[in-house]
Amino acid sequence: MTTEFEAAQVTAAMTRVAAALRANQETLTELDQAVGDGDLGVTAVKLAEALETVAGKSEVADIGKLLMEAGMAVNRAAPSTMGTLTAFALLQAGRIATGKEKLAVADLPLLLNAAATSVETRGKAHVGDKTALDALRPAAQAFAAALAAGEPLAAAAAAMVAAARDGRDRVTPLRSKVGRAAWLGERSEGKVDPGCGFAVVALTAIVGA
C-alpha cells in the first residue's frame, strides 16, 4: 500500500482526470444543456488539454508548485465557471502543499478539503444550493472520516467517491439556488446538477478506480 506520494503520482492523476473529462464530454454537455448554456463539455476538453500539457512538461518536484501551475494553466485555458472553480481549487490545494515534495496519506484530505472550501467561497455557494459543492463537501468529509477511523487508503478513497455520488443524487430532486441553473426555478428540480456531475467524474479519476 502506498504511504507517500510524489509529484509523478500527482501528474499521473492529472492525466487520468484529463482522460476521464474527454471520455465524458458528451455527457457533461448534455447535463449542461438541460439547465445551463451547454458549454461544460467544451470546458472539460479545454481543461483536459491544460492538465495534459502541465503533466507532460512539468519538472517541478514541489507538489504545491505543480498544483498551482496546473491551476494557472486551467484558468488560462478554460475560464468558464466550472473551469475557474477548478482553477481556484487547484490553486488552494497548491497553497497547502507548497514546499512539499512528498505527501503523506494524512495530507490528502487536507488538500481535498481546501479545494472544497475554495469552491464554497469563490463560488459563493453553500451545501444544499445544488452546486459542485454538494458532491465535493461530502466527499471530503467521508474521506477524512474513513482515514481517521483507520481505514486503508483504498477503502477511504472508495468511500469518498461513493459520498460524491450520493451527494450528487441527494440534490438532484432539489431546486438549484446558485449559478445558471437557479434561473430555471422549479424546472431545475429532478435534473442532475452539471457541477456535481463534473465533480464525480474528476474525483473518480483522481482515485483511479
Binding site: 468558464s80 469563490r122 449559478g179 434561473w183 430555471l184
Partner: protein, 332 residues
C-alpha cells in the same frame, strides 16, 4: 449545424481578427487576441471602463467599445468567461490614471474572473470598481433581484457610464451613473428557436414549432416557462407588463425603450412588437423619449426578442443623448 465558419475552434479568434481589420480606426488588440481596446487607448485623465464576457452576443460585449462608451473588453470563448489574465491586460492598457470601472453581466464565471483581475490590478495600484448588470426580471423574483442575470439592458448602463466618463466624471460619479441607469431599467425576453455553440455542434435546446420559451436568457439557458407560441401583441404585452410592474413605472414617467432581436428575428417583427409596446405606454400615460429597435444583445442565431425599459430623469436623459460612436452603436 449550419454556420458560415471555418474550424469551430477558430470561431472567436477569426471573428476578432475580422472585426479589428474592419475597424482599425476604432479598435485594437491589447497585446493578445482576446483583449480588445479603443484604438486610441489609454484616454489619459479619463476614468476607463471595461467589460467582458463570452462571445456569441454581438454587439454585446465588445461592440460597445468606442468613444463615449467603453474603453476595453475581455473576450471569452462562446458563452464562456474570458480569463482573469485577459481582463488584467485590458485593464492595464486602458487605465488613464483615474481608475477603471468593470461593468458586466452577473454570471458566476465572469464574476470570479473579474474579481481576481481586480485583486491583481490593485496590486499594481490601479483602482478598480465593479458594477454588476442584473436586469432580467425573468431570472429571479424581485425579492431576489441580486441573483438576476444581465442581458440587453447593459447597453444602457454602458452608455450612461461612458457618457459620464467622457464628461470628466470621477470614478465615484461614473459608478453612480451606471448604477443609476441600472436601478431604473428592467428587461425580459422570449425565444422561439435555439442556438448552437460552434464547438458543441448541436442546439442548446429543442423547441417545438408551436412553442416559445418565456424568460429566455442570452445563452440559450432555458427560461422559466415553455408555452404555446402567442401573437406579437400578446408577447409584447406580457413582456411590457412584467417589466413595467417590476420597475414600478407610473403615469407621467418618461422612458427609453429597447426592443432587441436575439439574432434571427427580423427587424420587421421587432417593429411589430414595438408598435404594441408603444400603444401600451401611451395607454398608461408613459412618454417615450427615445426608442431603440434592432440588435443590441444577441444569442447568435436564436430567434426571439427582449424588451428593456429605462426610466429617465434629467441626468439619465443627458447621458443617453450624449454623443457616442462604436462600430455597432452611434449617437451623433
Amino acid at each position: 449545424m449550419k454556420k458560415l465558419i471555418n474550424r469551430p475552434e477558430d470561431f472567436v479568434s477569426e471573428m476578432l481578427d475580422g472585426l479589428v481589420k474592419a475597424h482599425p480606426d476604432q479598435l485594437a488588440f491589447a497585446g493578445e487576441p482576446a483583449a480588445i481596446v479603443r484604438a486610441d487607448a489609454p484616454a489619459q485623465g479619463k476614468v476607463a471602463l471595461a467589460t467582458g464576457g463570452g462571445s456569441g452576443h454581438l454587439p454585446v460585449f465588445l461592440g460597445y467599445v468606442g468613444r463615449g462608451l467603453l474603453d476595453g473588453c475581455a473576450v471569452g470563448d462562446v458563452f464562456s468567461s474570458p480569463s482573469s489574465e485577459t481582463m488584467l491586460n485590458v485593464t492595464r492598457r486602458i487605465h488613464g490614471g483615474k481608475g477603471v470601472v468593470y461593468i458586466y453581466g452577473n454570471y458566476s464565471g465572469d464574476v470570479m474572473n473579474f474579481d481576481m483581475a481586480s485583486e491583481m490590478a490593485s496590486m499594481e495600484d490601479i483602482e478598480v470598481r465593479t458594477v454588476l448588470v442584473r436586469d432580467d426580471v425573468a431570472s429571479a423574483p424581485a425579492a431576489e433581484a441580486a441573483r438576476r442575470r444581465g442581458v440587453a439592458g447593459m447597453a444602457f448602463a454602458f452608455k450612461a457610464a461612458g457618457a459620464k466618463a467622457d464628461a470628466g466624471g470621477s470614478l465615484d460619479e461614473v459608478v453612480a451613473a451606471a448604477e443609476r441607469a441600472l436601478a431604473n431599467l428592467r428587461t425580459m425576453g422570449v425565444a422561439l428557436s435555439p442556438c448552437t455553440v460552434p464547438r458543441v455542434g448541436k442546439p442548446t435546446f429543442s423547441i417545438g414549432e408551436g412553442e416559445m420559451e418565456i424568460g429566455m436568457g442570452i445563452h440559450g439557458e432555458p427560461g422559466a416557462k415553455r408555452e404555446p407560441l402567442a401573437t406579437a401583441d400578446e408577447v409584447a404585452t406580457r413582456m411590457a407588463e412584467a417589466v413595467l410592474t417590476d420597475l414600478g413605472a407610473r403615469a407621467g414617467d418618461r422612458v427609453a425603450v429597447m426592443v432587441n432581436g436575439l439574432g434571427a428575428t427580423p427587424a420587421e417583427e421587432l417593429y411589430i412588437l414595438y408598435r404594441r409596446v408603444h400603444a401600451l405606454l401611451v395607454e398608461r400615460r408613459i412618454s417615450v423619449h427615445r426608442a431603440y429597435v434592432g440588435e443590441f444583445a444577441t444569442s447568435m442565431e436564436m430567434a426571439g426578442a427582449s424588451l428593456t425599459v429605462l426610466r429617465l430623469d434629467d441626468e439619465l436623459t443627458r447621458l443617453l443623448d450624449a454623443p457616442a460612436r462604436s462600430p455597432f452603436f452611434c449617437r451623433a
